[in-house]
């Protein structure tokens, strides 16, 4: 079965090509179903490969399936091969699984779009690239996928590119990601320079020979790359804007899969992380913790149903970095999986609401949808409980695990990280409760000519499936003896580099109790603030008649500074817009006068030389014969001259 692994990225690629060829002719909904089938086939293959892998001995679960020689230049020799191990297959499972559900959902969501089949080409291509990213057996193939998902993300964010805001959001995502890619490339060069290979098996074997300084540099460069793709400080600004894309895209790319690729990369490179100096890991942990807190507070003040989820995603990804920095690869992956389920669920639920509300995204104009959209609200509530960390929903188990690791990571500032993580958990439960209350509870605040309706089956079915998964995914890795399934499964990919906690069960229970208490109290707090509010209770839009009235509690919480994500976005625009702009103008004029001058000079010289030499081309045979004669004589004279000297 392992030798058929190429089919995993092969099916979605085939789907994209087929849709490219005949998608327009197939039209709606067939082209969408074709794409969904391609993704589904890939999922089935992944499951088969997973079964095969499970039947192997633990020590043999690191299998490289070489496809072909890719590039051979000097000592630089790269195969195109797939690395089948627990880590890559785990990633592939939830990419294809969640991906397939989102394909199905999209068939309903994109109903009536003029570019229906194009959307599915991009979606299939995205899945292909993402699978290459996780399955590639070397850094270059991963980079190919890395750039592929970046390109697809760009294309899908600006899918409705006729609206300028969408196009701008796409560009912002692209440019911000380039900064991270720069880090990736430098790291890749550094790995090749120091190890002589970029294959993962060579990296695993050779990592221990790396000098700590080199390893630290590699880790920090890859961290830069990861902060770009996984939307961490300082490069997270693109993700909230990326919500301009169609909602299934937000769910698939900007919540469940692509944004986790930075975390995947750091996990894959755990042998190098193990060699790096401690402060490199500390940097990872602190970047994660601070991002988690900042983004969570920003989420409190958002009124756009998708923006809340976007900031929430940034915040949850921060947890993953926190986990990795604390040495907890398994908790990071555990939370990545549960997050993929519940965040995809929340996004698709939000999409369903937007669909039902005729493209209204402002939560101030919602309320009371519980009765009108029963399935959407029920599933959304499951997602809310999961992310808020209420036991026994999945988010509780995975988040608790991360906090446990942070608490014990004394080398990088453990207790402080734990406090920040806990505060983030509190705020998370708070803003998610706020969102649920504003959307599904209370009195309807939408105008009377809007008639919200439940979404079609293609959209609700994925919601139900994801809700089920979000509820029970905690079973993957329960903190009880003998139930660390995920941990045991991932062991062969981590080479003993993860931290093994020997925390007493008492402290485990205590921490879990504190976390639960925090979650429940946050929910109650949010209920107190938002449970009884009506139309006029929110920060008024400027110019509305409510402006200038005394502020309510909710308004005081949602201070304008929070609404603008701590002003980071503004700070960026100011830096690049004013100071930066001047600098860029300087560069531009240097470019025009010096560089262009040199280039133009060379081209003038070239065409000048050409025009001069052209005179030799008279068209007369006699002249040509002269050239030949002189040429032969010159050759002969040179050779004889050498002989007699």
């Amino acid at each position: 079965m392992l030798e058929l692994a190429w089919l995993i990225p092969g099916f979605p690629l085939l789907g994209a090509l087929l849709n490219l060829a005949v998608g327009r002719r197939l039209g709606e909904p067939s082209s969408g179903w074709l794409a969904a089938a391609a993704s589904g086939a890939s999922f089935v293959t992944t499951v088969l490969v997973f079964n095969e892998l499970r039947s192997l001995e633990a020590g043999e679960r690191f299998h490289i399936e070489k496809l072909f020689d890719w590039i051979t230049v000097g000592s630089f020799d790269v195969d195109a091969g797939l690395l089948i191990d627990p880590l890559s297959i785990t990633m592939a499972l939830f990419i294809t699984g969640v991906g397939s559900l989102i394909h199905v959902y999209s068939v309903g969501y994109m109903h009536g779009d003029a570019n229906f089949s194009k959307f599915f080409i991009y979606l299939n291509l995205f899945v292909t690239s993402m699978l290459l990213l996780v399955l590639g057996d070397n850094l270059l193939l991963t980079f190919l996928g890395w750039e592929g998902v970046g390109a697809c993300s760009y294309l899908l964010i600006s899918f409705w590119f006729t609206d300028k805001a969408n196009a701008t959001a796409g560009k912002k995502a692209f440019v911000t990601n380039r900064v991270g890619d720069f880090g990736y490339m430098l790291a890749l060069f550094l790995v090749f320079e120091s190890l002589g290979s970029i294959k993962y098996d060579d990296i695993v074997a050779g990592a221990s020979t790396l000098a700590p300084v080199t390893a630290t540099a590699i880790v920090l460069l890859f961290l830069l790359a990861a902060t770009g793709k996984s939307a961490q400080l300082p490069l997270f600004v693109w993700l909230p804007d990326a919500m301009a894309g169609p909602t299934p895209v937000s769910a698939l790319i900007h919540a469940a899969t692509m944004v986790t690729s930075g975390v995947f990369l750091l996990t894959r490179l755990n042998p190098i992380l193990a060699e790096a100096q401690v402060w490199a890991l500390g940097t990872i942990a602190w970047v994660g913790a601070i991002t988690a807190l900042v983004a969570a507070t920003a989420a409190v003040a958002q009124n756009d149903i998708k923006k809340v989820l976007a900031y929430s995603t940034v915040s949850q990804l921060g947890y993953l970095f926190l986990a990795i920095g604390s040495g907890g690869y398994v908790p990071a992956l555990f939370h990545m999986i549960t997050h993929a389920f519940f965040k995809a669920l929340l996004f698709l639920g939000a999409g369903s609401v937007i669909h039902g509300m005729h493209h209204e995204q402002d939560m101030r104009k919602m309320g009371g949808l519980r009765k009108l959209m029963p399935i959407t609200s029920a599933t959304f509530i499951v997602g809310w409980l999961a992310i808020a960390g209420v036991p026994p929903f999945s988010g509780f188990w995975s988040k608790d695990e991360i906090l446990l690791y942070a608490y014990n990571a004394d080398a990088v500032g453990g207790k402080a990280l734990w406090v920040i993580g806990l505060a983030t958990a509190l705020i998370t439960a708070f803003y998610m409760t706020r969102q649920v209350l504003m959307t599904f509870f209370g009195k309807p605040r939408f105008s009377e000519d809007v008639h919200p309706h439940e979404s079609p089956k293609t959209m609700t079915t994925p919601l139900i499936v994801l809700a089920g998964l979000a509820a029970v995914a905690g079973l993957l890795n329960l903190p009880f003896k003998g139930m660390h399934y995920l941990q045991e499964w991932l062991e062969p990919s981590l080479f003993g580099n993860e931290v093994h906690l020997d925390a007493s069960s008492n402290s485990k229970i205590l921490l879990a109790l504190i976390a639960t208490l925090v979650a429940v109290s946050a929910i109650l707090m949010a209920r107190k603030v938002y449970g009884t509010l009506g139309t006029g209770s929110f920060v008024p839009a400027s110019g509305s008649e409510d402006e200038g009235k005394p502020m309510t509690v909710a308004q005081k919480i949602e201070k304008p500074i929070l609404a603008r994500a701590w002003g980071i976005d503004e700070a960026y625009s100011r830096l690049f817009g004013q100071l930066g702009e001047k600098l860029f103008h300087k560069f531009a004029s240097f470019d025009r006068s010096v560089i262009d001058g040199a280039v133009n000079g060379v081209s003038k010289l070239a065409s000048g030389v050409g025009t001069t030499l052209r005179v030799t081309q008279t068209g007369y045979v006699r002249n040509y014969l002269q050239f030949m004669a002189f040429g032969v004589i010159a050759l002969g004279v040179w050779l004889l001259w050498r002989l007699f000297i």
Binding site: A606, L613, G619, M628, W638
Partner: protein, 521 residues
Amino acid sequence: MITFQTVANPDAFEVPIVEWGALSPLLIMALAPILLVTVSSVVPSFKKASLPTVYTAGAALLSAAVTATLWSDNRLLMDGALTIDRFTLVGWLIIAVGVAAIAMLLDNYIVKQGYFEQIIEWNVLLMISAAGGMIVVAAQDLIVLFVGIEVLSIATYVLVGLHLRKPIAQEAAFKYFILGAVSSGVFAYGIALVYGATGSTYLSEIATSGRNSLGLNPVVDSSLMLVGIALMLGGFAFKVGAAPFHSWTPDVYQGAPTPITAYMASAVKVAAALGFARVMHDAFGEFSVDWQPLVSVLAVLSLVAGSFIGLAQKNLKRILAYSSINHVGFILIAIYALDEGVEALLFYSASYAFTVIGSFGILMMMTQTEPVLAESDDEKMVMIGANKIRNLESADGMTLDDLAGASKRHPLLAGLFAVLLFSQAGVPFTVGFWAKLQAILAAVSVEAYLLAGFAILAAVVAAVLYLRIVVAMYLKSDDSEPARTNYSKLSLIAVVACVLLTVGLGIYPEPLSDLVTNAGS
């Protein structure tokens, strides 16, 4: 009184063993035209339509297929006159496949020009010339090599001028013939001097009677040898079109019917280059310190002449002619690098051949040619008026300005053309990138850093050559509407195959690299 000398004792003259199996690709290419002439003179209907084309392409592909079956063969044939090794086989493959593609383009050209009279001759001469080229690639003996070169060249002179209604083609053929005849003379003189110095025309024997083992009078013998090398070098330089022996190239390429230009730029040039490399390595390897500087000078001059003079051109066929001179520079670099460069030489030759066939093919397909004159009839020849001639001139005189808006008139062809041009410029993800990279790496591996540097700079300047064409097609738009396509399916298949190879091997060059490895021995 005339006496007929007879072989007194038949046993004294040993008839060499003829290895029919190993020679079959060559024999197919040489006998197929004879069969075609015979059949078409008996069955007149054979002259119609695409039948001769299908026949030629089929014969060429058969020859290529048989070549492929010989893949692991490595031995001398015909009492040491020819050799069959990886080097030969790659060369045969390039020539045979090239002939198939060119026959498909030629068919389209004949239809577009409405010029059916010489349809058989064109195909026959094409195959005969290719058979000559195959001899050149395989020759292990200077006399055999010379015969091959003449078969290759004489058929080509005729091919260039076979379009009897095109004065410009006549002029080109005549120029090519005169210059070619002189260069053949120079080359034959070189062979004579080398024979005088060493007493042999076999490459292997010339090699063993090299510098350290010359006869009684070392000074005289080695000066004979060196002048001989110089003359042969000049002859080869003419055949491959290296500067300063290149001056015929632009005129002849412009004047020749475009598919024939494609043939000269690909198969003829590759055959000559491979023969060149074989002689220089196998026969004059010991003198490499003497001739290597000369080859590097020829390379640099070709790189410079090809890229710089090309910039001053407006006519597309001339631009591509100069680009082919530039490519010769890279091929010479690979020859310069001796054993280190053999793989680069074969890789470059192969990738260059189908890129250039595709480029000229698309140029031909884009040219809007009305049937020049009414069907056949010799008296119409007389009726060529000034007006008609101008029409003909512009048919093969497509300039950059004529390309404006081509992306709208011929979106498919323009796209394919752009890919091929990018490949010629050496843009990554096309096969041209790997070819140039290999040639430059070969120069680096023999520590010819200056040469490598020149190659890189020339590649930059030459890139402008190609980008100008792309710019003309895509950025200088006019209000053109998609034009009526007047090209045949066969020609489209040929150029699409070229483009697919260009991109496919650009992304995944391994198959071609595998093909050319171990060709050094």
